[in-house]
Symmetry: C2
Subunit: 135 residues, 2 copies
């Protein structure tokens, strides 16, 4: 009795694009889904949950490779939550490092922008810094 959805409907329901759903299937993230006689992909409720899973993973910035691992763990009833947590904490660390890098850049940019008067004259601390001999 499960309502089967075409890829467009599944896309709308999951928040992914049809394009990406095909891509996820082709790259092995999703198993090949059944088709109609004429070749249209059909998605059931279980598969729709997987699409939601992927979208939430992407929203949290996990790479497709990480999502692949997470999906496999999710599908495995004998998984150890240790493995899930390890992936999440690695990603957490990556995110923290990226934040630190961006904050560093943000500070420099802010300082430079404050030193550039931004009027009709050509003199500009930003260009001077980019051109300057010292790093």
């Amino acid at each position: 009795m499960t309502k089967l959805l075409t890829i467009g409907e599944a896309a709308k329901a999951s928040g992914l694009s049809a394009k990406m759903i095909r891509h996820y299937e082709q790259s092995g993230l999703l198993e090949k889904t059944p088709r109609t006689e004429s070749g249209y992909r059909l998605y059931n409720a279980q598969q729709l949950r997987q699409l939601h899973f992927i979208r939430r993973g992407r929203q949290l910035g996990f790479s497709l490779e990480e999502i692949h691992s997470l999906l496999n763990l999710w599908r495995d009833p004998g998984r150890e939550s240790r493995e899930v947590k390890q992936i999440a904490e690695q990603h957490l660390q990556d995110v923290a490092q990226k934040i630190a890098e961006l904050q560093q850049i943000h500070g420099v940019l802010q300082k430079l922008a404050s030193q550039c008067c931004g009027d009709s004259h050509p003199d500009c601390a930003i260009l001077d810094s980019l051109a300057g001999p010292e790093t």
Copy 2:
């Protein structure tokens, strides 16, 4: 008497890779540089300064397109620093927004990771959240 450098030397001196210097030339960021009779690119001091400029711009996270604009402004003696500042402030804003997004993600990940015991049992708040019905 300006010492001319081959691409490898220019790469070492500027901190870019030879590959990227060619890439920047091919994509129009740099003008075509003179070659030896046998086709080797040669860089003078002025061009080396441009390479440094590009590297510093990349370090600050400017896109090649933004660096292209900045380089053109730098080369233009009649520039208005207003234009430079506008590019920098737009980038600053982009960086700030990226930081905010990552901090949001960081908070969610931290909360989820703290709720996952990370042992040999399969139950895991992280998977539950990715799979869960509510966003």
